[in-house]
């Protein structure tokens, strides 16, 4: 291990990690909203739209992110739509993440029995009040485990962004290996960067899940 080399090139990894985190947080936030929207549309079977969303979910869940990105980044410019790498990355992440989040929320929504909705309606709540105060709070807390697994999964998926020319952690690592042949040091920094990003998040999610389960026993 050449620690001088590590000290010298750590800043590159910090910059790349910040980029990864930034794109991941933007992409994941949008995909949470998008997924929530999709799952609500499917839940209430809004005509036409819910068919479209079914197709979208099947398409996005059964194809790899890398191919989606290649299509966006190399394919679309031929049709006259030019996206920057960053927009491309975020679009790809939302396209993939939206469907995963929608599935997570759907399992939560399906767990809410009809009796809950009927009870709400018979108490005189409007349909939107039933959604806001009865269905969503319960559905979201049920779907937290699936939701947190998806967040980790999506952050892991950001590693393919190097393929659309974004200077993320993988790209920096690949460059350093190619330039200096310091494979061990570079891979060490790469692995530590991902551990630093993902490990606290994974632990936090485990704690949240445990708390929620604990709350569930009270019923």
């Amino acid at each position: 291990m050449d620690f001088n080399f590590i000290r010298e090139y750590v800043p590159y990894f910090v910059v790349a990690a910040v980029l990864t985190i930034r794109i991941a947080s933007i992409g994941i936030s949008i995909s949470i909203l998008f997924g929530l929207l999709c799952s609500i549309i499917r839940y209430f079977r809004i005509p036409i739209l819910h068919r479209l969303i079914d197709i979208y979910i099947e398409l996005s869940r059964n194809t790899p992110l890398l191919i989606q990105l290649f299509f966006l980044y190399f394919g679309l410019p031929k049709l006259g739509i030019v996206l920057s790498s960053e927009t491309c990355a975020i679009t790809g992440l939302v396209f993939l993440g939206g469907s995963y989040m929608a599935e997570a929320f759907r399992s939560g929504l399906e767990a809410i029995g009809n009796s809950q909705i009927e009870a709400g309606l018979s108490l005189g709540l409007t349909k939107s009040q039933v959604i806001r105060f009865i269905v969503l709070p319960q559905a979201i807390s049920i779907s937290i485990p699936a939701f947190s697994a998806n967040v980790i999964f999506l952050i892991k998926e950001t590693s393919v962004f190097s393929a659309v020319a974004l200077i993320d952690l993988m790209n920096v690592a690949k460059d350093l290996i190619g330039l200096y042949y310091k494979t061990d040091e570079t891979l060490f920094m790469l692995v530590s960067s991902y551990l630093i990003i993902l490990l606290p998040l994974s632990i936090a999610f485990t704690l949240i899940e445990r708390r929620l389960r604990h709350a569930g026993y009270g019923n």
């Binding site: 099947e58 398409l59 869940r61 059964n62 194809t63 790899p64 890398l66 191919i67 989606q68 290649f70 299509f71 190399f74 394919g75 679309l76 410019p77 031929k78 049709l79 980790i152 892991k156 998926e157 950001t158 590693s159 393919v160 190097s162 393929a163 993988m170 690592a173 690949k174 290996i177 494979t183 061990d184 891979l187 790469l190 692995v191 991902y194 551990l195 993902l198 490990l199 994974s202």
Partner: protein, 225 residues
């Protein structure tokens, strides 16, 4: 519109070559799935044992493999392992190693989950009915475990097929690489080939994964109770 670019797909053997590339992808993932299923079942059984040392070791392995992006694992094996042990691994071999390591971890966790989700009273009522341990496992525990395991295991197959798309980044010639070659070769004759080629690859992956995920969903609904 003098050039749509779609005719590139049907020139020469282009489409057949894409399918051959897809076969490389499917081959690698099927092979890894089979090996990692076998190893995963063993790992899952080890994880249900009470030995604390084994528990810590398997837990660390599982957490590390699941938290690392698969691309990082590919880099670790393709660049790191080869340099550390001075061996020459081809991209395809390192891909298989990574997918077996990753698949074993995922499968092991699924097996562990399925085994621990069987309530204790199932074991005990089997014993109370006078079944031997072997009979108890054959007739009571394993059939239930398989019902809980199989839909998720099939789902893992689609995840593995999707993840094999990454191996193009360590230089394995599979469907994406063949696509890139076709695009490069026809750069001058039909510049807009990229959209068609990537579009076709997108649907090829979909055609492979969709039936498998439908099967998984069907089984899950069928065996819910």
């Amino acid at each position: 519109m003098q050039d749509m670019g779609i005719e590139v797909l049907f020139q020469g053997r282009n489409f057949v070559r894409l399918l051959e590339g897809l076969w490389v992808t499917v081959r690698i993932s099927v092979f890894s799935v089979i090996v990692s299923t076998l190893l995963g079942i063993i790992l899952g059984m080890i994880m249900t044992m009470k030995n604390p040392l084994l528990r810590i070791i398997t837990r660390c392995y599982l957490e590390f493999v699941r938290i690392m992006p698969q691309l990082v694992l590919l880099f670790l094996v393709y660049f790191g392992l080869t340099k550390m042990f001075r061996i020459n691994l081809s991209g395809e071999i390192s891909a298989i190693i990574v997918f077996v390591i990753w698949g074993t971890a995922e499968m092991g966790d699924l097996v562990r989950g399925a085994l621990t989700s069987i309530p204790v009273h199932q074991y005990e009522s089997g014993k109370a009915l006078g079944l031997t341990t072997v009979q108890n496992y054959c007739y009571v525990i394993i059939p239930q475990t398989i019902r809980r395991l199989l839909p998720q295991a099939i789902n893992l197959v689609t995840r593995m097929i999707k993840t094999t798309s990454l191996i193009v980044l360590i230089g394995v010639v599979e469907v994406v690489k063949v696509g890139q070659q076709i695009i490069e070769a026809s750069r001058l004759t039909s510049p807009s080939a990229a959209v068609w080629v990537y579009g076709v690859i997108f649907f090829l992956y979909f055609i492979v994964c969709y039936p498998i995920s439908i099967l998984s969903k069907r089984l899950e609904v069928k065996w819910r109770n």
